[in-house]
């Protein structure tokens, strides 16, 4: 640019926020002494319309061609002022902000110091802005397809909203069926409506929808690219049954070499049994069996006449199936991978795995379910109904030895289980709790109802479960020992059955997912939202959203709300059609590049390749995310980043130090 540099400086009072700490008059006088500064003004609120107009007027009337605003943090208003420049006909990147609020007025004790600091920041900004170049904002098209990872109620809900809006959805589920944890329940709080009645129609709708491509028994293996343009590789594990041919008739399962189911069923939480060829539950989607390679006699030992294959009319069984890969392209991704239940065996004093009548809550959910292993009855190991049941809250939650956080849903589901057990067996039920967390629409009422029905609530975390009897009454029973903290006495309650209300934990493979998608997670391992209040389903990665329990423990209503919000966010991007890319990306000054390739190794986004002909590194602007790692790593100063050029940074540093 040949024209003379003419900088306009605008100092904001931010009401009293800045003005009460920084002497504005002194700062104005100081600004006038800085090189290239042509106009200096102050205003009560620069971000207001009249404030922004000041800039436009000066561009027009005074020929200002660079702008510095000394005000708050750029995260708050950088875009406001960039847009003001743009409207005034100035390239928005010929602008710089000096943060004299968060970094100065709010944190500096004396007016003296605050004013000096403001001068330093201002000088740095003026120095720097003089070197800024005009930059163009790149644009990229948004591929309208969406990938959803995880087919629990969150993934299902998001998929249906998107598909109804005409968007193509790839729904990837690692288990043989969709449905997630909700599919295991009999009834759901707080309404006690049947889980299957509300879930199954949604599951079949997913299967039937022409816009949804369902990939079960599959996992996302690799994700490349960036918002709008992700390339995804999906691994399909071999089911040994062809989905397109199978009609779900169960003939193969019936005729399997193993006449009786004899292997612990994963879906039944190990309290039910299955054959090597099985359908997890009658409403599974897709209703197609899967053959377990670890128990099938053909797949383990080649010792079976393959009765299943003989039985299959449409010839769907195929033992030659191997892993298959599908490559798809999408513009946005929704992660809905849910949770895993806490492993109760980690707390040995509760006796899970040691006493046969100690169960986890999910096992009891299966017992209560009429399609479960006991046909909907709550039964002891000996087949009898329990007369007394203890429900232990907070198993693995609110406990620094395991998980610090409250799992949020277990109070409510424990109350639900208490009511259902009482209804089905007539047993006396004792809930042992630390606090009852029943904050939700109609939740407190649900709790009161349980009390009204005669469920006992004892305030005390269970210390141990034992079968060592100390009295006649305790003989042959499980004894639950807890300090009744309201009564102020240690109590021993003999029961027939103990239910452990296990907490929720992040999935086993959450780190793999996180690294693959470049997401962050909280200290507890839950995927991290961009802002806990104002951006709850967005993530640090543009175009990737989270929904349901992968973000933290929550119940079904909240899960569905998040899922639909995530679908909405995805739709908003798709509707926009294209997005602007930040221009602060890196580039290689070819003449300086020595061809050492160091930058290629450090780039976390795989954006740098090597030009074999010219023997220099090349950055793909579409892939670069402007992280600056290559700039720092390049020994030849060949890698540079727009808006963070060496000269700009040095000028800024000098400004602060002088």
């Amino acid at each position: 640019m040949d024209e003379e540099t003419r900088i306009g400086v605008y100092i904001c009072h931010c009401g009293r926020n800045i003005a009460e700490k920084v002497r504005i008059d002194e700062l104005l006088d100081f600004a006038k002494t800085l090189p290239n500064v042509t106009v200096v003004r102050d205003y009560k609120y620069m971000c207001s319309d009249p404030g922004q107009k000041l800039i436009a007027e000066d561009v027009e009337e005074k020929g200002i061609n660079r702008v510095v605003v000394a005000a708050c943090s750029p995260t708050l208003h950088e875009n406001t002022f960039r847009n003001a420049c743009r409207r005034a006909g100035l390239n928005p990147f010929l602008f710089q902000m000096a943060n004299i609020r968060e970094l100065d007025a709010w944190v500096t004790e004396s007016v003296e110091d605050a004013t000096e600091k403001a001068k330093a920041f201002l000088r740095a900004a003026v120095n720097r802005v003089a070197l800024h170049e005009e930059l163009e904002v790149g644009k990229t098209k948004i591929n309208p397809n969406v990938l959803i990872v995880g087919g629990g109620i969150a993934g299902i809900s998001a998929a249906l909203v998107l598909a109804e809006a005409g968007v193509k959805v790839y729904l990837v589920e690692k288990e043989p069926t969709i449905g997630g944890n909700m599919a295991k329940f009999d009834k759901t709080f707080p309404t006690l409506d049947c889980a299957a009645c509300i879930l199954t129609p949604k599951m079949t709708a997913v299967k039937a929808h022409s816009n949804i491509e369902l990939l079960t028994y599959s996992e996302v293996e690799q994700v490349e690219g960036y918002v709008g343009n992700f390339r995804v590789r999906i691994k399909k594990k071999p089911r040994y049954v062809k989905e397109d041919l199978c009609i779900g008739c169960y003939e193969c399962v019936e005729d399997c070499l193993f006449a009786e189911p004899m292997f612990p069923s994963e879906f039944e939480m190990e309290i039910g049994k299955r054959k090597p060829i099985y359908i997890p539950f009658p409403q599974a989607v897709p209703l197609v069996p899967v053959i377990d390679p670890n128990t099938c006699m053909w797949l383990t030992a080649k010792k079976c006449p393959q009765y299943c294959r003989e039985a299959c009319e449409p010839d769907a069984i195929d033992f030659n199936m191997g892993e298959e890969y599908a490559d798809v392209e999408v513009g946005t991704i929704i992660v809905a991978t849910g949770y895993k239940p806490f492993d109760a065996a980690r707390i040995p004093q509760y006796g899970f795995g040691k006493y046969e009548n100690v169960y986890t809550s999910l096992q009891v959910e299966r017992m209560l379910n009429s399609t479960g292993p006991t046909g909907g009855e709550v039964l002891l190991a000996n087949g009898k109904k329990p007369e007394r049941v203890a429900i232990v809250h907070c198993v693995g939650s609110r406990d620094e030895n395991y998980n610090r956080y409250c799992s949020k849903v277990c109070c409510m589901y424990s109350i639900k289980l208490a009511r259902l057990i009482k209804e089905r067996t007539g047993a006396e039920v004792y809930n042992f709790y630390i606090d009852i967390r029943a904050a939700g629409k109609a939740y407190e009422e649900f709790y009161k109802k349980a009390m009204e029905e005669g469920v006992y609530f004892i305030r005390g975390k269970v210390a141990e479960v034992t079968d060592i009897a100390k009295s006649e009454e305790e003989k042959g029973k499980l004894v639950v020992v807890a300090e009744d903290t309201l009564l102020g006495r240690v109590r021993r309650i003999p029961v027939d059955m103990v239910v452990l209300s296990v907490g929720l934990e992040p999935q086993e493979d959450v780190d793999r997912i996180r690294n693959m998608l470049k997401l962050s997670c909280s200290a507890d391992g839950w995927l991290l939202e961009r802002h806990p209040k104002l951006a709850p389903v967005s993530t640090a990665a543009e175009g990737i959203f989270i929904a349901g329990c992968c973000q933290g423990p929550k119940d079904i209503p909240e899960t569905v709300a998040q899922a639909e919000a995530a679908a909405g966010e995805a739709l908003s991007l798709i509707e926009r059609g294209e997005i602007e890319l930040e221009p602060n990306i890196s580039f290689i000054r070819r003449e300086r590049c020595s061809g050492c390739r160091i930058c290629i190794g450090v780039c976390p986004y795989g954006a740098i390749s090597f030009d074999e002909e010219e023997k220099v590194a090349v950055i793909n602007p579409a892939l670069c995310r402007g992280c600056g790692t290559c700039v720092a790593a390049c020994p030849s100063k060949a890698a540079q980043q727009h808006l963070f050029m060496d000269e700009e940074i040095y000028a800024e540093i000098e400004g602060v130090l002088l």
């Binding site: 005390g460 975390k461 269970v462 210390a463 034992t466 079968d467 300090e483 903290t485 102020g488 240690v490």
Partner: protein, 393 residues
């Protein structure tokens, strides 16, 4: 002291124990009370102690005597969901106040007084500390004579003076002799290590003992300390390093395990059904679970059975934290003492030998056998006694 002075003293002590600030995060969940062997009888469970502290009712706790209803078994600390150091801080700091107020249970007061005066709680002469050496047929060298050794063996007070526990000391010394371990003892230079003192609330005396002992250790050249006193082991391993002591400390179960191959060659068959008691300071507190089991299982002929409460969840014998001197005090509160409960459990799983790794267990359990009438059915042996028996046939 008036209440505010009590508070000041209390919180000053608390501030010296790591993590004790966490008491502020107590959930009042009662895990501690339900887990405590005395919870059913105590007027102030650890939870209620914290509640009382919050309500500034510290005097009521002290008057109730609840601070002495603790055997320092660490079960509450181990299970507390807020990881509050109840056993190391909340309770002993109350005991300290009680000592300052001058009303601890008599037996315990005497033991502490003796420790301060004689370096042992039995009021025995320090010169008699190594008198057991004359009762064995092999040589037990003094480190002051022998110079450089691999192992410094610490029998500690019970192992040196207590009639029954001396048998264990002699058995372990003989094992070391048979294995060919290069070891020596301090003789009458040895002094109480002091863990029971610390947990009884005599923090000052403990620090004094620790300082003196470290000085003694520094005089000699050895690689590691071995002791069969689980409480001494705990203090040497966890407390002494805070005062700059840096040597390796081994519990005798670890030493035996380390030499298992040699021992195996010497073993003869034993026709016992053995169960193993995980002592608090070996198991729950210091994580030694497998080594003793491996040693026992290696003895041919032995049938090994587990009790119901094992490992981290084993029931305390009741001897820790000054419990050996609180017997009559505790009887005022509790009908069945933990040791009695425990031997019944051992008998119920069909054992005829209960093997223990902590020196206090043996007198505690032998007494309990008498009280429960199980004397004919069950015997108590320290692991070194069992191993020696397997060797000698």
């Amino acid at each position: 002291m008036d209440i505010s002075e009590m508070f000041e003293t209390y919180f000053e002590r608390l501030s010296e124990v790591a993590e004790s600030e966490k008491y502020k995060q107590c959930l009042q969940c009662g895990t501690c009370g339900g887990s405590c062997p005395y919870g059913i009888a105590s007027p102030f469970t650890p939870r209620k102690m914290i509640l009382a502290l919050r309500a500034k009712l510290i005097d009521e706790v002290l008057e109730s005597g609840a601070q002495w209803l603790c055997t320092s078994c660490y079960t509450c600390s181990y299970r507390c969901p807020s990881q509050i150091p109840l056993t190391d801080a909340i309770i002993p700091a109350l005991r300290e106040l009680s000592l300052l107020e001058g009303n601890p249970p008599e037996e315990l007061a005497a033991a502490l007084m003796n420790t301060a005066r004689y370096g042992n709680p039995f009021r025995e002469s320090p010169r008699k500390r190594d008198s057991w050496v004359k009762e064995v047929e092999f040589e037990v060298p003094l480190i002051s004579k022998k110079g450089d050794v691999d192992v410094l063996f610490i029998p500690e007070c019970f192992g040196a003076y207590h009639r029954r526990c001396r048998e264990i000391t002699k058995a372990l010394a003989e094992l070391m002799y048979l294995i060919g371990i290069d070891f020596a003892i301090l003789g009458n230079e040895e002094r109480c290590i002091g863990d029971l003192t610390r947990l009884s609330g005599e923090f000052g005396l403990f620090e004094d003992l620790m300082e003196k002992n470290i000085k003694t250790f520094e005089k000699y050249s050895f690689n590691r300390i071995v002791t069969h006193d689980a409480h001494a082991f705990n203090a040497l391993r966890r407390e002494y390093p805070k005062a700059g002591f840096e040597k390796d400390v081994l519990h005798h179960t670890q030493l035996l395990y380390e030499n298992l191959d040699k021992l195996k060659d010497m073993f003869n068959e034993l026709d016992y059904t053995v169960t193993y008691h995980d002592s608090c300071y070996v198991g729950r507190r210091n994580g030694i679970f497998e080594e003793p089991r491996e040693v026992i299982k290696a003895i041919p002929g032995v049938k090994f059975v587990e009790m119901k409460r094992t490992r981290e969840n084993a029931l305390c014998c009741g001897g820790g934290g000054g419990g050996v001197w609180l017997d009559s005090f505790i009887r005022n509160y509790l009908k069945e003492r933990p040791a009695e409960d425990r031997v019944k459990e051992a008998a119920s799983v069909g054992a005829n030998v209960i093997v223990t790794p902590c020196i206090l267990d043996v007198p505690m359990f032998e007494d309990a056998l008498k009280m429960t009438g199980l004397e004919g059915e069950l015997v108590v042996k320290d692991i070194s006694e069992l191993v020696l028996e397997a060797i000698k046939g």
